[in-house]
Structure formats: C-alpha cells, structure tokens
Amino acid sequence: MYVYDQYDQQLLNERVAQFRGQMARYLDGKIPEEEFLPLRLQNGIYVQRYAPMLRVAIPYGLFNAQQMRTLASIARDYDKGYAHFSTRQNVQFNWPALEQCPDILERLAAVQMHAVQTSGNCIRNTTTDEFAGVTADEVVDPRPYCEIIRQWSTFHPEFAYLPRKFKIAVNAVPDADRAAVQVHDIGIQIVRNEQGDIGYRVMVGGGLGRTPIIGTEIRSFLAEEDLLTYLQAIIRIYNQFGRRDNKYKARIKILVKALGPERMAELVEEEWQRIKDGEDKLTTAELDRVKAHFTAPAYRTLEANPASYQQALADDAAFARWVQRNVREHKQPGYAIVNLSLKQKGNAPGDVTAEQMDAIADLAEEFSLGEIRSTHQQNLVLADVEQQRLYELWQQAKANGLATPTLGLLTDMICCPGGDFCALANAKSIPVAEAIQVRFDDLDYLHDLGEIDLNISGCMNACGHHHVGNIGVLGVDKKGEEFYQISLGGSSGNDASLGKILGPSFARDAMPDVIAKILDCYVANRIDGESFLETYRRAGHTVFKEAVYGKPD
C-alpha cells in the first residue's frame, strides 16, 4: 500500500496544526459558528443528533493492522468503544467530544491517517473496488490511480468551496462494478484500448440523494497521463457553472442535466485543451513511483486447493458454507480473498467494537500480510489469505463474530445511521435492519434466496443507497410518524438501475411481513437459477406490487 514520504507526512502534520489553531480561535469566539462549520466539515466533523461525529478517511478503502489498532484505541479512549464503517469505505465515530477532535486527528496523523475532505463541499475520498489488486478480472490495479487522485485532490486550492460535495469512484473490472461508479459525480472506468494502452472511460453526473441519476459517458477513452488535467477541466466547469442558489440542485448531476451531456462534454473539452499539455500532465516517473507502492507482495508458490483445505470443506458444512458465501477467488493460486462480515444479527450494519477491531488487526497480521480493506457494502476484507489457512482463520473470525456467512445475501444490508444518530432523518433505519435480520435468520432459506441487495436510508439523502438496492427501503415522515417506502429493481453494478417505488409506505412493525411477501413472490416466480433482480426484471413490477398490495378490483 502507499507509504507516506516526508512530503505527505509534513503536509498532514501541518493540517493538524492548522485545525488546532482553528479550533482554538473558534473556542475563543473569534470564528462564528457558521464560519467554523466548513472548517470542521473539512476535517471530518459533523454535528449530528446527540454528539459530533468524526468521519475518518480510508483512502480507497485500504489500511493496515497498525492503523486499525489506532482506530480501536480511538474508539476506546474517545468514543463508546465502537466505530462504524460507512458505504464510502470510511469509518465513523459517533461520540467524540468536539474539543478532543484535534487530539484524535493527531493520533491518526501518527499512523498516516486523517479526516481530510470526508465532508464539506470539496472533492471527497476516492473509492474503488475492494478486491483491487487481487482479483483476476481487472484490467489493471486501480489503486495507484486512486492514490494519484487522492494527492491531487487533497487541499486543492481551487476546489475547496465547490457548489456541493464531489465524489469520484474508480473501477477497473470490465464486467462487474463493486465501486458503483455510475452513481458518482465522476465515475472512472479503467480500460484498455485496441492498441492495448491503459486509459479511462469517463462518466459524469451520476448520484443518488433527492434526484437519483445514472452518470453519462462524456469520454470513451482518455489516455493514462491525462487523468488529472481532465479531472481539473471537469471540476473547473462545475465550479464556475454549477448552481449555488439551492443546495438540492447544486450537484454536478443537475448541471449535466441542464446543459445536456453533449454540451457538458464540449465545455470540458474546451477547458481541457487549454491545460492538457501543461505541467499537470502525469509523467511516467510519477506513474511508476506510485505504482511501485502497489506491486504484488511476495506470494509463496502454493498449490491451488490443497488437500487439507478440501478435507476441511468436506468435513465441516458450516465452514463450507462460509467459504461459498464469504470467500472469493484470488488471482494467485493457493490464495483466497476473505470477506469479514460486519452484519451479525443484533448488530447495526457496519458497526464494530474496539475488541473486534483489535482482533481484525491480529487476523490481518497473522493471515493476510497485515492489510485490510473496507467495502462499499460495509464489510471488511482480508485480501491475501492462504487457502490452507482458511479453516484456522474462519474459526478465529467466528469466535469474534465476524464470520456471518451471508455476504451478498438478504441480510448483508447497507444501512445508514438513520434516526438513531442523524439529525436529518425522517425515520430510524437500524431497527428496521435488525427486525429483518431477526425475521430472516434461517441460513438455508437465505442461501436459497441467493444474492439480494437490500439497502435502507432514513431519508431521501440516500446515505444507505436505497435507490440502487434490489430492494430499497426509505424512511419517510407521515404526519410526524415514521413510515417506510419500498422500491424494487435498483442495482449499483455495471447494469446500474434505479429502483421503482412499489406503492404506499408502511409502518415499521409491518416491514418484516412486507419483505416476506416480496420474497415469496420472487420464489414463486423465479425460473431455475434466476436471481431476485433477474426475476424482477423479467416478471415485472406489477407482479410484485400485487403480491404486496393485492390485486386491484
């Protein structure tokens, strides 16, 4: 993974000092509340329902055991002993004291971590595929490009006060998309052209929130060295012409919609022509320097599917089930990608305790070269585990409540903090997730249902990505009471689509029954091997609508 040199570290240390000064001026009454707001946001600090929330960046989801232990120590010393992994691969603390945030940031800086640009109207943490570098189907490892974007976007002098927040996601797998690039302000698909050169297909204007939109391609191939100048051109156009009069219309998606994608592409092209051959054009030396941080580790020469592993699979059905669901194929023979689930029953999706965090750090060191990844689905990944040690790892993960064998299944939900924490919520979301986990806890049933994305947001800001859930649940306010609206058919993959609202909303305690009706309808209609989404797309919305609301007379 990327290791800071003296420049990166110096910059981060200066950032901590800057924020300490800002906090002191704020506490002195020299900075009014309204002006302190963007300063704290740009250091990851929100003020939510009960307490501030500190969002710590995990650039493109990659971190190491030492960093995980530091996060655990923060959970213990400054929070209530737990932390929350978000859908943007970041980690959040729900209960720090505002005055202590500079100390927390200093502790983070000591392990090359920070909360820079995790909030505020700036370019946010770039996200990517959690299997980057270890999956056989990628064109190239996307992480060096994410790191190049990270450095370029960190304290960008021109783009600290954009009309609205700005999110970039990168994917390098041709026919899968774990980074949801089509619902980002800029989606970058790394591709190879006919000559075999690496480059990017660029999409703009995707996003969720109040106005969910799938991004549109504005360039089918951009050369590798042109990455930063082209991003600069896009965001320059956005910074000048994006709406600033209404925060709900301020995202780039609204600008792209107003101009039309063709006009947007033209404006970007004009701006790009002025800067494309300037000093910001990437050099081979820089590409090589950053790529050198992401070379494959010294893998051992191992036999694929060794006998001891096959024996364990045959002997232990629970282990075999976990492998089937939570373990993915690694590009290196004899290795495997392990997903540690943060969706155990009775636990808010994405939450981990400090003890679990320490245990994960130990597991990473013991089994996976000391590195960890966080995922868009709010789970964690150990990316380099020897198959012959999977059984041992599974036992330890299980003992720590990290081996729920449900990856990608119904109960592997994405869920925002909702009304339990968030001041913007219309409704709670965690209790809905819990009720669904409790109702559908039969593993055989869950495995039989197969892959289903169920996403829950507590309001239309869509932090829980409900629009792109196969089943989406949205908290709504009905005369002061908490209700839930269901949509079906969303997907965030490379076949991205937005869900369609099923009908009138339901009270919270009706939710498990409603979900059960939807699932029964799927089971009754599926044709061999079809996934939920496939059945929905084939059988159609009305079939599901009638299953839930009955046939109209």
């Binding site: 040199d5 420049y7 110096q10 910059l11 200066e14 950032r15 800057q18 800002q22 001026r25 020299k30 900075i31 002006e35 963007p38 300063l39 109207n121 450095q151 370029w152 960190t154 304290f155 960008h156 002098p157 021109e158 783009f159 600290a160 006060y161 954009l162 930063l228 320059r236 910074n239 000048q240 600033r244 002025r274 800067i275 300037g278 000093e279 910001d280 990437l282 050099t283 030396a285 820089e286 320097r289």
Partner: protein
Amino acid sequence: MANLINTEQHIEQDPWHWVDDEQAIDEFAIISLERWQAQQTELKGQALEHKLGVHLRSDQTADQLGEDAHLLALISIDFPKFTDGRGYTTARLLRQTYGYQGELQASGDVLIDQLFYMKRCGFNRFALREDQDIQDALDAFATFSVTYQSDVSDPRPLFRRR
C-alpha cells in the same frame, strides 16, 4: 479600506477605490465589467497608465474579461459569501490561461481560513472582512509548506518536484 493586506503586510495607504457606474471615473478607479465593456475605447488610455481596475462579480467568469485583462492594472474578484468558490477558478484562469500579471484582489467575504488557497490561486491583495484579525491573517499564508498541486506561484505539481 482599513483591512487591506498583501501576502506580506498590512497596506495602510492605498489609492484604489470602487466607482459606481453613475459616478465619474477618476484615477485608480475600480469599475464594473459592464462599464469596462461599454466604454473600453475611451478608457483604454487611463488603463494603459496603470490607473484603472475592473471588479468581477462571482458570476462573471475570467473568459468574459478574456484578453482585456492585460490592459488592466488591477482586477478585483468578489466573494459574496466565503462559501462561494467561483473566484478561485476565475483567479487561476486569469493568471494561468490569460497570463495576467497585475494586481489581483480578493474582495467581499474574505476570511483568514481562505487566504492560503487564494494566494495559491494567484491573488496578491486581500480586502479582508472588517472583523478579521490582520496578524492572524498574515500568519495564515504560512499554513502549509508542502502542496501537492501546481498553482500560480509554482506551476509544477509536487510530482515534478519530488
């Protein structure tokens, strides 16, 4: 203008001043873009003596002024609210696309915590909002000693200097 600074010091005496569209233009007048565009021919002489400036609202882009920038001794860019970041792009385009060399002033809701970025985008004069502390403001220019991106003071991004 009590709270005017450059990147080094407080500017106590300054001849530049805003002149409304209805008022007569005197020396060191800063006028609106509209007026400049309407009366350019008459005003060129004064401009060439380095005694004319133009003020851009935040919705007026660098491209609207374009090559005319070279005729002016001072361009002022408005920040109606500190959260309105259009002026950063305007400044960089004037400096880097049009090669503007004159005085570039940030006006309006100009606060200490924006100064470092403003300087990097090419501003060299700052009409601070009245309540801002001058010393804290001058200190802010030294907030960071490392920067990743290219900027107006150094067109090389860090990766060309590393």
